[in-house]
């Protein structure tokens, strides 16, 4: 329902605002253009998106995820000290993080959800500090190669759609660092 409210609100607001500002005809023309633009965009994204999904499948089958998750484990144990000794939870979290890094979103979510379920057994109904940390880390994007955005840029006629990678890594790292810091600080301040 949230999307229904959002969409209806956008359409109603653009008609009201268009009429008030004398842009009525432009709104009418835009209503015809948007849908066609969406299909064109998807068509011109298709090649690159499919290629990268293919490369990701190769990563998945070659065990790159498992290798990465072994590398990550020591770092993650420090982030979740309460569960450092819990093999099942740490396995799921490190697999979740490595899948997120490689952009395997469909694989990452079930792993993270499984970790969240196991963690919630200790404190049923209430989010423990570690569980909050897991959720905060999953709401920040750490995908190394943002495939979809790059294909949108390529569809818009960009010669080097991946030239944003260093900026994306920088912004992702800062965003994750801010989330972890906020969670650590709030863990001390929050009562109840």
């Amino acid at each position: 329902m949230a999307m229904a409210v959002l969409w209806t609100g956008m359409v109603a607001a653009s008609i009201l605002c268009g009429l008030a500002m004398g842009n009525g005809p432009a709104v009418a023309a835009a209503a015809m253009e948007g849908a066609a633009a969406a299909v064109e965009l998807c068509l011109s994204m298709a090649g690159m998106l499919c290629l990268w999904m293919g490369v990701m499948e190769v990563m998945k089958r070659s065990g790159l995820s498992e290798g990465l998750s072994r590398l990550l484990r020591p770092v993650l144990k420090r982030l979740y000290p309460d569960f450092a000794g819990d093999r099942a939870v740490m396995d799921n979290i490190s697999a979740n993080v490595s899948a997120n890094l490689l952009g395997l979103g469909n694989a990452a979510t079930p792993l993270g959800v499984q970790a969240a379920r196991l963690m919630s057994r200790r404190t049923p109904g209430t989010a423990s500090d570690s569980l909050c940390m897991l959720v905060v880390c999953n709401t920040a994007s750490i995908q190394l190669i943002p495939t979809t955005v790059a294909s949108v840029r390529q569809a818009a006629g960009c010669a080097a759609p991946f030239d944003i990678l260093p900026a994306v890594w920088l912004a992702s790292a800062l965003s994750v660092a801010a989330g972890i810091t906020a969670a650590k600080v709030l863990a001390r301040l929050w009562r109840g």
Binding site: A13, G34, C42, W52, A116, V136, A155, A160, V168, S175
Partner: protein, 173 residues
């Protein structure tokens, strides 16, 4: 450094393929299967993009987005964020497909290599659909008391937006 970034995509492709060959994976079969799944992903996003790009195009044509950008422009400029991205900031934590629609419109309208287009792309690439993720995780774990998870996650989003605008300026300008 520039050459490395330019060559990154083919280098990753070759590196992954060689590593997979060494692990005796049928690289070609995996590549083709994954590419096929890519079509499925596209088919899933087409319907929502059709709906959302229509609404976003109408909103832009009506002048409402400019109005919102103007209203928030002093605040956003002070933070170093291009005011044109205002709709993306508002919709990003709520809906992934709406954010993709708004972002794609910005990238197309301003050009992929413009300041606004690049900032929008980096924002899309470095943030997540926060409320959706929170709903999925806490829903599955049966958590009613979410404590400070929402404010902490929104801190990460805000930092992501600020960092995206800053990183684009540092890397490109």
């Amino acid at each position: 450094m520039d050459l490395l970034v330019t060559m990154l995509v083919p280098l990753i492709m070759a590196g992954v393929a060689l590593y997979a060959m060494a692990r005796r994976v049928d690289v070609y079969d995996a590549l083709v299967q994954g590419a096929g799944e890519g079509l499925g992903v596209l088919l899933r996003i087409v319907p929502s993009l059709v709906a959302l790009l229509t609404a976003v195009y109408m909103l832009r044509a009506s002048g409402a987005l400019e109005l919102a950008a103007q209203a928030l422009s002093p605040l956003l400029s002070a933070l170093g964020i291009p005011p044109e991205t205002v709709a993306l900031l508002l919709v990003r934590p709520v809906s992934g497909s709406a954010a993709l629609g708004v972002g794609a419109e910005l990238i197309t309208a301003y050009g992929p290599d413009s300041l606004v287009g690049r900032t929008a792309a980096v924002m899309l690439g470095s943030t997540e659909t926060t409320f959706y993720t929170i709903a999925v995780y806490f829903g599955a774990a049966g958590i009613a008391k979410t404590r400070y998870a929402v404010p902490a996650a929104l801190c990460a989003d805000l930092a992501g937006f600020l960092a995206a605008a800053w990183a684009v300026r540092v890397v490109f300008y």
